[in-house]
Each structure stands twice: as structure tokens, then as C-alpha cells.
Amino acid sequence: MTTTQLGQSQEAVTLADSTSTSRRSRDVGFLILLWTSLLLAIATLAALLINTLVTGATTLSWEFVTWFPSPFPEDSGIQSALFGSLWVTLTSGVVSLVVALGTAIYLEEFTNPNSRLQRFITTNIQTLAGVPSIVYGILGLAFVVRGPLGWGFTVGAAAATLTMMVLPLMIVATREALKAVPPSLREGSYALGATRWQTVYRQVLPAARAGIATGSILGVSRAMGESAPLILLGALAYVSYNPSGFDSDFTVLPLLIFKWSTEVQEEYRTLAAAAIIVLLLLLFALNLLAIIIRDRSRVKW
């Protein structure tokens, strides 16, 4: 009995000793490691932005934005890619928002959280969210570009493919937005005699508006930056005209950046950097919009 007590007190003495020296230095070492990992993220972002700006800023001009891609680097611009990105992104944004909203409303407002159906659909959406984007390219290739639909490499085919790709993301975002609406709002509506759909349409959706908007903006920016499935879908040619409809040929900014990055000549590298600056500016603007919407409509329930 006494011996064990003695042993414990000796241990306590060694612990107290280590507090002053090795324990403290290990604390400091740990903090340095944490700062290193933090700096890695900051340095990556800084290096990426600075490297791109230094390479591309001199090429960036009004001509660059308004001219069309061309086989000659000095005459190249990005107008058709800008319009292509606009067409594809807006189309897939609107379509995926409608589908995601419908799915989210059905799951959140019309089914029991523990029902087998809801678990099945939820698991399925989680699975889809984990599918690599290039596999959506294969899906688009097999069903939309060739196969049953046979649309070819058109605005419509690309928009359909990107819609399927961002859909899981959008569903998760819109579900979160609906979940954030407090149940008391719904119950109040039911108590006044409203049906489920009336409650959703007149109470829940307006209350979740901001969350839905920010979620869909993030989905849209994902679609705007995506390149992998489109690389697979079709030609990486320089398209020198703007899209005229859903059945029109097109290119988008990420594809043009990819194409320019693979060219051997040095000039194309600066073109790619300049196009990256434009793409990043667009994406930052979208994200800023999402943040503004989020801050403006912050409601405390």
C-alpha cells in the first residue's frame, strides 16, 4: 500500500519536472507545425494568384475579352468562351436549381425523416456526390452526346452533363436551407388550416430564400469552373463564334484555359494566365454575391 503511494508520488515528481523543459518545448514545436500547415494554405493561394497575375496581367485588355480565339496567339481573345460559359452555366444552374428544389422539398417537407424511401434517396444522393466529375463526362458521352439523345458536343449536351454533376451539391444545399426554417413556422401555418403545399409555397420557401440562393450560386460557380467532363465530351477546338442556341457548338473558359495550357509556344501560356484571371474574377464575383445575400438576409429565428 505504502509502496504504491510512494511510486505515484515519484511519478508526479517526474511530471512536474518535465513541465518546465521538454513539455513546453514540445508545445512550442506543435504550435510551429500548426502554423506551418496554416502557411501552406496561405502560401498556395498567394503563389497561385501572384504567379497568374504576373504572367497574365499584361495580356489582359479589352481586346482580349472581346476578340475570339484564334490560331494565332497575338490575335486571340476569349469572347466565345465567355458567352459559352454564360450559356452553359446559366442553363445548368436554372435546371439543376428546379430539380434540386423539387427533390429537397419532397424529402424535407413531404416524407418522414426515418422512412425507407428518404433513406434510400439520401444514400443515393451521397453516392452521386462522391462520383468523380470525369464519370459524369462518361455518362454525358454515352447518353447525351451519342447514344439515345445524340445531341453531339453542343451547348445543350454540356449543360445537361453539368446539371447532373452539380445536382447532388445543389440538393444538399437546398435541403440545408429548408432545414434551417424553424418547425414553428410550419406548425403555425398548419394551425391556420393551410395544406402542406400551401405551407411550403407561402411560408417555407420565402423563409428559405436566402439559403437557397447562396446554395445555388455555389453550385453555379462549381459548374462554371468545371473542365473534366467537358474535356471528355468532345473536341477541344478553337470556336470562333458565340453560341446561337442549345444545338450550337461552343467552348467555355476552362476548356480554353486547358487548351492554351497544353500548347507548346510561350505566348499561349500568358493567354491561359489572362483567361484564368477573368475566370477567377467571375467566380469571386459570384462568391461575393453569395456572401452579400447571406449577410443581408440573416434572420434570427
Binding site: Y106, P132, T195, G225, I257
Partner: protein
């Protein structure tokens, strides 16, 4: 008297207005069910679009050309339009058709030669598997420790001001398109980092190392955010109890938060790795276009995903074995990422410590 009772009974029946409401309600539900099933349709579409051509790849012969050995005529034209036999057979007699034999599973999984586009083609998928593994490994060496470190920092050390700076940095980094990372890998990470830190061989313009590092940087914000979420789920009472016993912040991080949040952190790692495996554009730009059977990260290599993108750019006839590899490799990639995602959910469910 009796008349009012009757009137009341009549009024108990739903009015026209309410019946119309119910019709709307039923219509809305039907419409929503249709929309909600789209996810299931997409999943089935993915499986069908992968499995069917893969089945052909392993079981059916593909027509590779018409004519005799001496006057070989390529099939590009007719393959492009999907016309497979009838018109072409009129001028080529049966014996002159050249076939590509189906690729056996033994060759696919047993060979280390991957040259699907040359001549008869070699279809051993191992170079792609090794490339995928090596790049995933490099990415995880970059992203996993740093991601957990950032999460520790945000969770325990960061003051409000640091948090307000770090969160947007991570969000911005997470929002950078992969093609931009690809450019960064090819023109910055390759020459400035990969070429300088690799001691074993000369690093070329295209290297698995540059691609792997950059993929790691790409998944870093996701890794950090998911690990931060997992750590935030550790109950405060545990953390405060440890502090009350005299633990330092480091000891709380490694002794309390890490083990208590381990299931979530493991799940975060698995999800991040699955993103790394599926990454196409960065690897396609930075790691070159040859599937080399090598373990040297300084050389060119291809992953499953980047091969699919590469084959998509190429102009192989649609019915050829070389083209069908897109789907066979795609199915393999799908299975691997799917298994990882199931695993991450299992890890969370299985090893979650439940606290009151």
C-alpha cells in the same frame, strides 16, 4: 330544427374549394416524386453507361478495319457515324474484315503494359493503378497532416480574428477551379518545387510529383474543413475536463480531440483521398500523357481519371477496343471511389463514440 341538422351535415362535406386544394396537393406530390427520382435515374444511367460498353470490351470482337493485311483501310469514317457493317460489308468480303479480339480479364489485370492506342494494343491496367496510387499517396502526404494541423489550429488556437482570415482563405482555395490548379501545377509547382525537392531522378516537365503535390493542395481546404467539423463535434465537456486536469493545448489536441474525433477525421481523410483519385484535369495537364509502369514520381504517369480524359481528347474510332477502354477504366474508377465513399460512411457509423 331537423332542417338545420341536415344543413350542417351537408356542410361537413368538403367544399369545392377544399376539394380543389386536395387535387392540387396530389398533383404536387406526384410531380415532386417524379423530380426526386431523378437522382436514382442518374445513378442508373451512370451504371448502365459504364457497364454495357465494358461488357463489350471484355466479351465482343471489335471491327478494326477492312481489307487485307497489305491494303489496310482504317475505319474512322464509318465508325464515326456509327455505321458498323451493312454498307461496309458490301465491298469487303467476310474474310477481309479485321477484328480486334476481346480483351481478357487476365490481360487487363495481369499485364503491366498499357498501350491501348498502338497497333494491336496492350491492355494491362496496372500502370494506371500504380499511377493513381502514387499520386493519391503524394496528395495525402501533403493534405492529410496539413489539413489536420489547420483543423487543430482553427479548433483550439485561433482567435476570432485569425479565424476570420483563415475561413475565407480556405473557401477561396476550395473555389479555385481544377484547371487553374492544373496550370499552377504545370508552370509553377513543376519547375519551382517538384524539380527541386526530388532527390532520386531528374524531374521532367511532366511529372507525377508535381501533379500529386498540386492535387494535395487542391484537397487541402476540403480536408481541413471536414476535419474541423469532426473536431467541433467533440463534446466541450471532454476538452474542458482535460484543461481542468492541467493539460496544455497540445495535449488536448493529441490526447482528447484526436482520439474522440477520430471517426470523423478518418472519414474526412477517406473522402479527400477519393477526391484525389477522381481528379482529372490537374493530372492530365501536369503528369503527361504516357502510362508508364514506374514507381518513380519524377517521371510521366497517368491515373485512371487522367487516362479517361486523355483518351477522350484522342481521335480513336468509336467502336475500337482503344476507345472502349474509357468505359472499362471508368467502371474501375467508379467502383474504387464508390467503395471509398461507402467505407467513409461505415467508419463514421462504426467507430463513432457516442457522448451524452
Amino acid at each position: 330544427m331537423s332542417q338545420t341538422v341536415a344543413a350542417r351535415e351537408v356542410s361537413l362535406r368538403p367544399s369545392g374549394h377544399i376539394r380543389r386544394q386536395r387535387r392540387i396537393e396530389r398533383g404536387v406530390v406526384a410531380l415532386l416524386i417524379m423530380i426526386a427520382s431523378s437522382g436514382v435515374i442518374i445513378t442508373s444511367g451512370i451504371v448502365i453507361s459504364l457497364v454495357q460498353p465494358t461488357w463489350e470490351f471484355f466479351t465482343e470482337r471489335a471491327i478494326s478495319g477492312y481489307g487485307t493485311e497489305d491494303e489496310f483501310v482504317g475505319l474512322d469514317e464509318s465508325a464515326e457515324t456509327g455505321v458498323r457493317d451493312s454498307s461496309a460489308l458490301e465491298f469487303a468480303d467476310e474474310s477481309q474484315i479485321q477484328f480486334e479480339e476481346p480483351v481478357s480479364l487476365g490481360e487487363f489485370f495481369g499485364s503491366t503494359e498499357w498501350y491501348p492506342q498502338y497497333g494491336d494494343g496492350d491492355f494491362g491496367v496496372w500502370p494506371l493503378l500504380v499511377g493513381t496510387f502514387l499520386i493519391m499517396l503524394t496528395a495525402s502526404i501533403v493534405a492529410v497532416p496539413a489539413g489536420i494541423g489547420i483543423a487543430f489550429f482553427l479548433n483550439q488556437y485561433a482567435k476570432e480574428r485569425t479565424r476570420r482570415i483563415m475561413k475565407p482563405v480556405l473557401e477561396l482555395l476550395a473555389g479555385v477551379p481544377t484547371v487553374v490548379f492544373g496550370y499552377f501545377a504545370l508552370f509553377f509547382v513543376g519547375p519551382n518545387i517538384a524539380a527541386k525537392i526530388w532527390p532520386f531522378s531528374d524531374v521532367g516537365i511532366y511529372s507525377g510529383l508535381a501533379a500529386g503535390i498540386t492535387v494535395g493542395l487542391m484537397i487541402l481546404p476540403m480536408m481541413a474543413t471536414l476535419a474541423d467539423d469532426a473536431m467541433a463535434a467533440v463534446p466541450n465537456s471532454l476538452v474542458e475536463g482535460a484543461f481542468a486536469l492541467g493539460a496544455t493545448k497540445r495535449e488536448v489536441c493529441t490526447g482528447v480531440i484526436l482520439p474522440a474525433g477520430l471517426s470523423g477525421i478518418m472519414a474526412a481523410i477517406i473522402i479527400a483521398l477519393s477526391r484525389a483519385i477522381g481528379e482529372t484535369t490537374i493530372v492530365l495537364l501536369a503528369a503527361g500523357s504516357q502510362a508508364v509502369w514506374t514507381f518513380d514520381l519524377g517521371r510521366e504517369m497517368q491515373t485512371m481519371a487522367s487516362y479517361i480524359g486523355f483518351a477522350g481528347i484522342g481521335d480513336q474510332p468509336v467502336d475500337s477496343k482503344g476507345y472502349q477502354t474509357i468505359f472499362a477504366v471508368g467502371l474501375l474508377l467508379f467502383i474504387v471511389t464508390f467503395a471509398l465513399n461507402v467505407l467513409s460512411r461505415r467508419v463514421v457509423a462504426r467507430f463513432r463514440e457516442v457522448y451524452e
